[in-house]
Amino acid sequence: MHGKRTLIQSIMLGAAILVLLLFCLFPFIQILSTSFKYQFDWGNPSLIPQKLNTDAYKELLGFTEKKKQEIPESIKRLLDNPLLPEDKKLQILNKYQSAGDVFPFIRYFINSFLLSVVAAFISLILSIFGAYSFSRLRYKGRTVIQRSVLFVYMVGGVLLLVPLYQMSVKLGLATGMWGAVLSLLLVYIIQTLPVSLYMLGNYFRTIPYSLEEAAAMDGCSRVESIFRIILPLSVPMLVTVFVYCFIIAWNEFLFASVYLKQFPNFYTLPLGLQSLFVSKNAIWDRIMSASMLTLVPVVICFMFAMKHLTGSLVEGGVKE
């Protein structure tokens, strides 16, 4: 820490950093490498593919032609019949083309994306007002609220698994398609709400009261000052909280597996990936490229919000 390092010290430091980087990045490199490998190459410990295989990515992103399924002659003749309405024809064709071994990556991606964005957005809106209330307004019961927020934010999702599922069953939500999706959305909102309340509350406290007092003199009401003073000053933090909530929902697997098991059309990416892995169509290059594509949005979000994210994590806003 003080003075110049000797050559040996520098080398040791460099080696330690390299080992650390390798430890952190190796699983990612492994995923990237295998996603580009052909099957004959899997057992080869070298991380550089002998022959570049991009089929898996093309298939997942829908760049390859849909595999023509075998259509029986009799059906073909039926399809050639000009009297048959177009939509009927499509229906029949679809029946033969819904190939079980295609991993509908884009569909899962959209499901995950919509669920995460909506949950993060609702959570953010609720917590903006909630956090403003307990961090900047004085009233009886405020301390109790603050403490309860902290308490629930440490209660993990798995503890609520059985009761939440039973509640949806009792309300008749768990068996219907949209009911299940709604339940899952609510679950994502409550998994993110306590932490966003906590993070925003901590941030709002740092904004000087004098700004709001000055606004009040100019005839600004408290509610107006939320929109005119607090929110504009908190934009980076709002983005951070949104991204953090998005990542939590995007990564979630447990509740998705419980609620959506019977509705493959609504699978989120983690659920889809898991079911691909345990299915007979588990092919490493496909799994790895799907993993890679699931990772990318998170890494992008992370780079986008890193500066504020790490800062607010240090201040205690961590939810796992």
Binding site: C24, P27, L137, R138, V152, M154, V155, L159, L161, M292
Partner: protein, 288 residues
């Protein structure tokens, strides 16, 4: 009616907090209580639940599955928390030194923490894959440590070790972040003074650094206990045969002979442990 300013503030406060409180009340507080209620019932997936009193808890005390799961959980917690904290500390000390590209390195080592569990587990599974994995290639062909290729994740005993290593890999960044932010606040004069007193690097660490970060380390251990006790994905997705309490609850509630009343009882026990930890954290660390 005349309304004072503080009454106005109080009304607004409640108005703004009500939606959030409502959601938390209905979807977190109520389920916690409902869970306790369910633990006294034989929960039917269709039809009415049957009150069974303490039968679910009696079963808990007699079933070896629960004890096994408890032991697994304790080993998992002990291993992962020790590892995460020590590695976090080591990395924080390393990152506190000056070296080129330090900012990039600091950003890169946070990746394991943010990456989706579902993606990274496949990298780990491939690494330990008995047929294709580099681990078996290195252990058998290159180093000759063992004669046969082993499926380490397939065997619950060795899988637990891998789950612990995975947990350390995944979570050390947050320990590192919290420790380094404390390290950077230590006054440099203290090191100068210690150096003048003839303290070497090791002595400086034990006499200056450690007392300063002692509190952070304690906080981290408690928080990690709370978090890891709740972990499901990091265990289940990597090695479904390692049955920590959350995984055991999941199996009981949703697979095989489904028994959600019993699963509720397991959750209640876990909740009691957790509440104890949280109260300890709040009292000792946050000093309420």
């Amino acid at each position: 009616m005349q309304v004072t300013l503080s009454q106005k503030e109080s009304r607004l406060g409640w108005k703004l907090i009500t939606p959030a409180i409502g959601v938390i009340g209905i979807l977190i507080i109520y389920p916690i209580l409902y869970n306790i209620y369910l633990s006294f019932f034989d929960v039917k997936l269709a039809g009415d639940n049957i009150f069974v009193g303490l039968a679910n808890y009696e079963r808990l005390l007699t079933e070896s599955g629960f004890y096994d799961s408890l032991v697994t959980t304790v080993i998992y917690l002990a291993g992962s928390i020790t590892g995460t904290t020590l590695l976090g500390l080591a990395v924080a000390l390393l990152m506190n030194l000056q070296f080129p590209f330090r900012n990039i390195v600091r950003a890169i080592i946070l990746l394991p923490y943010f990456a989706p569990v579902i993606s990274v587990v496949f990298g780990w599974q491939f690494f330990f894959d008995p047929v294709n994995g580099i681990y078996n290639h290195a252990a058998v062909e290159m180093l000759g440590l063992t004669d046969n290729r082993y499926n380490l994740i397939g065997n619950p005993g060795s899988a637990l070790v891998i789950v612990i290593i995975f947990s350390i890999w995944k979570n050390f960044p947050i320990s590192y972040l919290l420790i380094i932010s404390k390290l950077q606040s230590i006054n440099r004069d203290q090191y100068e003074a210690a150096a003048m007193d003839g303290c070497g690097p090791a002595a400086r660490f034990f006499h200056v650094t450690l007392p300063e970060i002692y509190f952070v380390l304690g906080t981290l251990v408690i928080l990690r206990l709370i978090w890891n006790l709740n972990k499901f994905e990091e265990v289940f997705l990597l090695a479904p045969n390692v049955k920590t309490l959350p995984v055991y609850t999941y199996y009981t509630a949703f697979t095989g002979i489904i028994d959600q009343g019993y699963a509720a009882a397991i959750s209640v026990v876990q909740f009691l442990f957790l509440s104890f930890l949280i109260i300890f954290y709040v009292k000792k660390v946050l000093k309420w």
